[in-house]
């Protein structure tokens, strides 16, 4: 399936990696929901590291939308919360 890292483009991810990614994503979500700054950074970094480890760049001319989208590597917890609550970070 296709996963997008914001600011970096899309990756092709083998389905076999999805469970592990979901596990890491749950940790990230807990940090965001609990507004836990200390846990947020490492959780985001761990998820990104796993994505990069298992993924390979998708073709730039691939028109398929991503099944999953992950915030940019230097995202703050406040940015992610804003993105999730009102989509206010998406211009246009």
């Amino acid at each position: 399936m296709i996963v997008r890292i914001l600011g970096e483009g899309q990756l092709e991810i083998p389905d076999s990696a999805v469970d592990e990614l979901n596990e890491l994503d749950r940790a990230l979500e807990q940090a965001v929901e609990g507004n836990n700054e200390a846990a947020f950074g490492p959780a985001l970094a761990a998820l990104l590291a796993k994505l990069r480890e298992v993924g390979s760049p998708a073709r730039a001319d691939d028109l398929r939308p991503s099944e999953l989208i992950i915030p940019q590597p230097d995202a703050t917890i406040a940015e992610v919360r804003k993105m999730l609550t009102d989509g206010g970070l998406i211009p246009g």
């Binding site: 914001l6 994503d25 001319d61 398929r64 939308p65 999953l68 992950i70 992610v80 999730l84 998406i90």
Partner: protein, 276 residues
């Protein structure tokens, strides 16, 4: 409270919602393909301009950082000059200011390097968007030629959502880069103002006068003292002869004329040296 589904899924839904809103505005999908493509080309132009603007701001920031570096170097030189002039208090003041400026500058330079990285990513993102828009152009011709309106709908939705996602991503990245650039410019200006106003002095117990003013005054004062000394020496040398020449006994008219003529050019030379 949203049921747990992971951050990635939720972010994706936000992007999809935006694409769907735009899709809803399209009526017969086949007829609007060309219109959609035109809009994409316009957005692509906007993205390119955005990337170029970030590059311009980044270059302006580079100039600002360079100027601040020069000012830090100047403070270093002022410290040396102060020390050479025996003013350790002034030298300490200059070095204290330099240390404060340097800390700010180091932070700014780290940010600058990360901004360069972001600019590179933006360029790549704009190239990916270009590739997708090109792919969309090809796809829309295929769709128009091959599918019925009903079949076309699904294909168009997918391509459209894919493009929309890429547009949103690059748009957000440009916004972040612009924000970061603006913050850094404000920071650079603040450091510059601090150095110009001498407000940093308030943080240390030191002379209130600006270091350069003080050095200039000392230098100017030294110059006046030197010139005064030189003038005194010249006057001392020519004085006996002048007294001789102007002596009321008028013993020798020839002897009295010469030293006066001799003395005048020397005074002029001393005048000429003044601006040194």
């Amino acid at each position: 409270m949203v049921a747990p589904m992971g951050v990635m899924k939720r972010v994706t839904m936000v992007f999809r919602a935006k694409a769907n809103k735009a899709l809803d505005r399209l009526e017969d999908p086949r007829e609007t393909l060309d219109y959609s493509y035109q809009t994409q080309l316009e957005l692509l132009q906007k993205v390119r301009r955005g990337v170029a603007d970030v590059a311009t701001s980044r270059k302006r920031l580079e100039l600002q950082v360079n100027q601040l570096n020069q000012q830090a170097t100047k403070l270093d030189r002022q410290a040396r000059d102060s020390l050479a002039a025996g003013r350790e208090d002034l030298a300490r003041e200059a070095l204290t200011r330099k240390a404060q400026v340097q800390t700010q500058l180091d932070g700014l330079q780290t940010q600058y390097v990360s901004l360069q990285g972001e600019e590179e990513k933006l360029t790549q993102a704009s190239q990916r968007l270009q590739a997708k828009v090109d792919a969309f152009r090809t796809r829309k011709e295929t769709i128009k030629a091959t599918y019925t309106a009903a079949e076309a709908q699904t294909r168009i939705n997918e391509a459209f959502t894919g493009i929309s996602e890429e547009m949103s991503d690059v748009g957000m990245a440009i916004q972040r880069a612009e924000d970061k650039t603006a913050q850094m410019q404000a920071r650079a200006s603040a450091i510059g103002e601090l150095m110009d106003s001498g407000a940093l002095e308030d943080m240390v117990s030191g002379p209130r006068d600006d270091i350069q003013d003080e050095l200039d005054r000392m230098r100017a004062g030294g110059g006046v003292d030197r010139e005064l000394e030189q003038m005194k020496r010249e006057i001392a040398q020519s004085a006996p002869r002048q007294i001789e020449g102007t002596s009321p006994n008028g013993a020798s008219a020839e002897a009295s004329a010469e030293p006066v003529i001799e003395a005048e050019p020397e005074i002029e030379q001393a005048d000429a040296r003044e601006p040194e």
